[in-house]
Each structure stands twice: as structure tokens, then as C-alpha cells.
Subunit: 439 residues, 2 copies
């Protein structure tokens, strides 16, 4: 029997274990329903971290440690938004955008003006108005992440850029694929040169369409916003790192990770409870199958991916300070849907040959229909690029993700057990192959 | 610009059209909610056929005709099933299996005996008992269709084989992936040599587990069955065939198809409204993009896939009688989920070279992550094998299909628009490539 036959059998064992014995879907259920949503700095975020530590200790690992960092404490507060079309109130489903500030106890009222590109702001008369950003995600993109990437600038920078031209607030069409009444939150950023930290609020795609229609008909659309969103001073938090030390090449680290923090709506199930539990599944599977890795395997649960990236940045700093080398880092932060493959990036010095070597594993992964190709990896592992290992993102089917991303619908019931478990099995398989054969 | 660049651009146009302009999801919604479930011979089945004809006529095709056949008329009737464990009644969720007969006005009562393999029947004392088949689908199969194939013999032949050894009825664990209280119907067959057409009833997976547990504990489990299921004499029905005649090679037919009939529970959404509407999407897209095929494109909506295959068989007969040649036939009958690729089969004389040629299209389909590999094609097109063209099945992601297959949950709400439309775009793309380049 050849070496690659051995590998094929072990990859099959990994999948069999996942679909018949893994406990990670139960762990995910507990994380979602007991800790709940885990905004950085919230009590639930510490509960989630502690729960993951307890699982990892129970599974049995060589070392468990924390990498500390400071995280922002954003509080959604209460939002009172009323919308009038030609003086008549219409219903609106809205939610404050992450890290945005409220109205400091007073109500802000203004007329809406639709602007669909940040670049258009200087050419529109937005002074004392509420800018309504309404560019939809491009439905013709096959991978919805590409459509997300093409629309999210409105949410991230809309308020900051609008303030420079005198706007008093922004309403942003939810960055989502479907038309419904569920608003999507997500991070917004006040750039250093912003003259005023104006409020920024997401409205549901259905309501955005209604507003746009009214504006196109020449109607006056007026919003009154009263919001108590606030940002408190940073507080101490940490990422969790669990390690199985390699028997032959302990200094070559293969990292698997997801982020434990989530937005405060829903339960942070797909984003990114699934990524955390799939990373734990790698450790769980190796232990259950008595696999002793040659290289050091690290499972990292990052804090603060959503609104600061303090976990990813501090982990890379810690790692660089200790002169570590990550041969590969695999992040799962694209939802717990059926795995389609892996997308990879890395430092230009190493990327082409490493991707070529990695692609050789496609043959062993063929029964699972998993591709390996160039593409984005993940926000938390990106700071490791300077170590010149390969950065890999698990790439699940993306069609349903942005229906529920950053909404109240991102709950355990939306995670299909088999789809989720196959994602963890795909990650485990790739870690195993890299561990066995190097790159 | 090379020929394959042209092809890549056109395949992109096909996908762009699907995700932004196709009306097939609306058509599917109407089919599911207006006609509803479409058991062969039912009024709804004729409504469904007529609706598809009206869509095709509206889109504009060269020819539309019907291939007639006789179909069975099975009537589920009413099922009264009560179950007692050591004399105490427990709740049970059950439904009669397709084509099975009822109890002719009287009630049948007997003790349950669990048997998990048809081959075991001769060695068990099942006389005057109710055989309870309880072998689950193998959860470790990656493709759930393989697990279905490994379990469905109990449902199809359980009653017929049990009757030979004196059983009075059969209860069959639902052939489904998840544990819930929703029973799955599906066809059962009385073989010619069966001494008695005993009733056959599916129970939900949750209830099957409860029954099995009680039996393992040595408890007496008794069922009383009163069912009015019946089979009336065959009636006339038909498959619908819509054709765009080829400009260069009109005698080389490329078929796309699905089956219009469905079980009577749910709405026949994934099984197989999606396959019908994806087949119509091929025609819709070619017309919208003004594509004149070189070869003859046929969209076929088969009747009676579920409980007889009269549509598939009569179509092949019709085609053979007219000395036709199907260069390729593509069936979509595996659910309207995200397309993963195509599986192919065919007559041994042509299969290897044709598959090799077909696989060359994988490169153009790479942006859509679609594989082309060996595997099953589809029940309706299988009778065309003797024409020595290639038979192809659209292969969608299979993880969720057997949660809802043949149940009351197979409704339009379970079909994700983008997943469904991408399946139709995948089929359209493959038809286009075969039409352009031959095989």
C-alpha cells in the first residue's frame, strides 16, 4: 500500500468520525444557546472563551494558554428611528451599526438623500441631511463574498465620509443578499480625520427599497433618529490557544482558528461559532483517532474579529516576539455551510510554490469535492503573512450566508449538522495532509 | 480572442442572466403553490403539465408535443395507525408507502418484530407479525444518495418479501437523514410472486428509534393498522417535450429534463419541481440571450418518475421508434441545492471517450466550481442508454435533501433562489458547451 493510499484511508477516517462521532455540533449548540451572542468585552464573550477552554481541556491537549489584548466595548443601546414619507409615518426595520455612536440624548431629524457611492459624496448637496446609502450587493457574483466586498464600503466608511461634507447621520442599506425586513449590523469606522462622529444605522433591504422608491418618486423622506449607542473604554480580553506539540518538527506550526466574538444580534452561530467549533474538531478528531502530529497543531479562538481585530493582531505580535513560524494557518470564518474547498494567499516570496504543493492534495481530497485555489484566507490570520507560511481560508458554499450574516437569524437552527461537520472534516483533512507531507 | 474565451464569456452571461433575470424561481413558486403536489394521474399533475406548456409556449420554442403513456393512480386514502408498548398507547407519526394497498376496511393488529435486512427474513419468525424495518441511512456516506441507495431496499421490497414468510404488514423506518417526527413516503413494489399485498407504512425516524428501543428492552410492541390506500386502474397521461431545432446538426439531440409528477405530500418542490424549472431555464436562457443552437435542444418534463417510470420508458420508446439519437441527456432530479457538478454514465461502447471529452469542459466551468465525473445520471433518461449518447445528472449538494425528500416539508420555502438558479445555470452552461463543441 502506498503512502498516498494511507493518506486516503486516514482522510476517510476523519470524515467517518466527523459524521458519526464528533461532538462539535453539540458544543456549538451549547455555545449558541448558553453563552449566546458574544460581543467583544461582553460577559457572554468571556463565557464563550471559558466554555471553549473547558472543551479543549476535556479533549486533552498539550498546552493551553491565552494571548491577552484590549478590546473595545461597544453598546448597541436603544434605537428609536421614525421615518416619514411626505409627512406620513411608515414602518422601518433598522439597527445601529457596530462601533457607531448615538445621538447623545437628543433626537436628530433630517431629510434623506440617496447616494450610492462614497466617491459621489463631494458632488452631492448633503449638508444637514441624512445620507441614505443604497447600493445593493451585486446578485450576479457567483461567490457572495465578492458581492459583499463590493458593497461593504458604504457601511464601513459611509458615516465618516459623509460627515466631512456636513451630513448629520447615515442610513445604510443592509449588506445582505435577500430582500427581507431583517436589518444586518456590522462594523462602521470613524476615520481619524472625521469632523464629527455622526450616527450610522442599517435598514433592512425591504425598507431600503421602499425608501428608494419614494425618493425616486420625488417624495420627501424624513428620518428622526434617537440612539443611545456608545463606546466605552477598552477592556482586557484574550484569545485562547490550544496546542498539540509536534513530534518531529515542533517549530513548524499549523494553525486552525475561528473567532469567538460575534455581533450582539442572533447567536453568532455561523459567524463564527462554527469556525471555532470546526477548529476544535481538528483537535478532537486527532485525539480520537490517536493521531500524533509531526508538526505543532494550534487551535486558536480569536477575540474581537468583528470590531477591532485585536485578537488577530495581538496573536501575530505574540508569535513574532517569540520568533515562531507558522507553516500554514487555516481560518474558518465564512459560515458553517457545505465545504467547497480552500482559498489561499500568502507572502509573495513563497506563495506560488507553496500553492503548487498544496494543490497536490486535491487528488486525495477528490472524493469530497474540495478545491484548492487562490483567494482570501481570513482576517484573523492575515497578520501572520510576514512569517511566510501559507494562509488558507475554508471556503463553504456561500449562497445562504448573507441572508443571515450579522442578523438576528444567525442562530443554531440555521446551521445544518452535516454541512457543519463536513467543514470541520475538510479542515482536519488538510491539516493532516500538510502535517504528513509538509509544503 | 480564442474560441474558449468566447465560451467562457457566454457561460458567464448564462450565469448573470440566471441570477438577475430568470423567471424560473417565480415559475417554480407558482407550480408549487397553485398546482401543488402532482401525483401521477391526479388533477394537479395535469395542471402542472399544462402550466409548463404555457410557460414554454410563452418563452417561444420551435415545437411542443406530448408523449403519451398510461400511469397508475394511487390514492393514499386515510391511515389509522395505533401503536402500543406493553399495552400503553404511544404517539406515532406515519404515512402509507406509495403504491401500497390498505387493509380493505378491516383493521390489522399484530406484534412488531425488528428486521434490518431483507436477507434476514427467512431466518426470523415473522409469521402473523408486523415486520419493522429499521436500518438507518449510513450517516458516514459523504453523498447522501449513496446512503439512500443503501437503505431504500427496505422500503421498496420490504412488504413484498415479508409477505412470503407470512407477515401481515410492514412498518418501515423513514429513509431520511435527520431524526425528526416527519414521515417520508416513497414507492413500494409488490413483486409478481408475492402471495399477499400486505400494507406498508413509513414511520418517522424519531418514532422508529422509540420503537426499536422498546423492542430492545424486551417490551411487546403492537400495532393496529387501518388504511384505505388503493390503486385504481391506469389512466392516460403524458410527458411534455419542447424543442429548439438545431441549425447545423438537428439530428443530434441534447435533452434536459426533470419529472413533473411528485408525491402527494408537500409540494414536490425539490422533487422535482426544481428539475423541471431548471430544464425550462435552459430554454429560457437561450432565448433571452438569442442563442441559436447547432444541435436540437429538447426540454422534457417526464410524468410518473415516482411510481412507475411510465414517462421515461415511453419517451425512450417514442425516440427509438423514430430512430432518434440523443448525443447527451441531462436530468436534474437530486434537489434544487447549490450545484456541485455533474455525474455521468452511458453505454460501455462510448462512455470512456465521451466522459474524457466532457471533462475538458471542467476548465471553462472552473469559476463555478463544477466537477464532471462518473456516476448516476437519472431514472427518466436511463432508458436512453441504448442510443449510445452520454447520460448526465446534475449533482447538487446533497446534505439537506434527505431531510425533506418525499415529505410534507418539500415545499417552496425550502428552495433557496440562488442555489436553484445556479443549478439551472450549470445545466444551461453544459448544454451550451456540448452544443458548441460536440463530444
Amino acid at each position: 500500500m502506498s503512502q498516498s493510499d494511507d493518506a486516503a484511508f486516514f482522510v476517510k477516517d476523519i470524515h467517518t468520525f466527523a459524521l458519526s462521532q464528533s461532538k462539535t455540533y453539540d458544543y456549538l449548540t451549547t455555545l449558541c444557546t448558553t453563552a449566546g451572542p458574544r460581543l467583544s468585552g461582553s460577559e457572554a464573550s468571556y463565557d464563550g472563551l471559558a466554555y471553549c477552554e473547558s472543551i479543549l481541556n476535556q479533549i486533552g491537549i498539550d498546552t493551553l494558554f491565552r494571548v491577552e489584548c484590549d478590546v473595545p466595548r461597544w453598546d448597541r443601546g436603544e434605537l428609536d428611528l421614525s421615518l416619514k414619507v411626505n409627512g406620513k409615518q411608515i414602518p422601518i426595520r433598522a439597527t445601529s451599526l457596530g462601533n457607531s455612536l448615538g445621538t447623545q440624548g437628543k433626537s436628530i431629524t433630517g431629510n434623506l438623500i440617496e447616494v450610492n457611492h462614497l466617491d459621489s459624496l463631494p458632488f452631492r448637496d448633503i449638508e444637514n441631511k441624512i445620507v441614505f446609502f443604497n447600493r445593493p450587493m451585486d446578485p450576479t457574483q457567483i461567490r457572495t463574498f465578492n458581492a459583499y466586498g463590493g458593497a461593504v464600503d458604504q457601511r464601513v466608511f459611509g458615516a465618516s465620509r459623509s460627515a466631512k461634507y456636513g451630513a448629520i447621520a447615515t442610513l445604510v442599506r443592509s449588506i445582505g443578499t435577500d430582500i427581507d425586513t431583517v436589518p444586518h449590523t456590522g462594523v462602521s469606522v470613524y476615520e481619524d480625520d472625521t469632523p464629527s462622529k455622526i450616527p450610522s444605522v442599517a435598514v433592512s433591504t425591504f425598507d431600503a427599497n421602499q425608501i428608494s422608491k419614494a425618493l425616486k418618486q420625488g417624495k420627501q423622506v424624513t428620518a428622526s433618529i434617537n440612539s443611545t449607542s456608545s463606546l466605552r473604554s477598552d477592556t482586557a480580553s484574550y484569545s485562547v490557544v490550544a496546542e498539540i506539540r509536534g513530534s518531529e518538527f515542533p517549530d513548524e506550526i499549523i494553525l486552525v482558528g475561528g473567532h469567538i466574538d460575534s455581533w450582539d444580534l442572533g447567536q453568532g452561530a455561523h459567524d463564527d461559532g462554527t469556525g471555532c467549533m470546526q477548529s476544535i474538531q481538528v483537535i478532537e478528531t486527532f485525539r480520537a483517532l490517536n493521531y500524533q502530529p509531526k508538526r505543532t497543531i494550534r487551535c486558536v479562538l480569536f477575540i474581537n474579529e468583528e470590531n477591532g481585530l485585536a485578537g488577530g493582531n495581538s496573536y501575530a505580535e505574540y508569535s513574532n516576539d517569540n520568533n515562531e513560524y507558522h507553516l500554514a494557518a487555516i481560518e474558518s470564518d465564512a459560515g458553517g455551510f457545505s465545504p467547497r474547498g480552500f482559498t489561499c494567499t500568502g507572502h509573495e516570496d513563497i506563495f506560488i510554490p507553496m500553492l503548487k504543493n498544496l494543490k497536490e492534495f486535491e487528488q486525495i481530497l477528490e472524493p469530497y469535492d474540495l478545491f484548492i485555489k487562490k483567494g482570501g484566507a481570513g482576517a484573523d490570520i492575515n497578520p501572520l503573512k510576514s512569517q511566510k507560511g501559507i494562509l488558507i481560508g475554508l471556503s463553504p458554499d456561500s449562497q445562504r450566508y448573507f441572508d443571515l450574516h450579522h442578523t438576528s437569524q444567525d442562530v443554531i437552527e440555521s446551521v445544518h449538522p452535516r454541512e457543519f461537520l463536513l467543514g470541520g472534516a475538510a479542515m482536519t483533512s488538510l491539516v493532516y495532509l500538510i502535517d504528513q507531507y509538509g509544503l
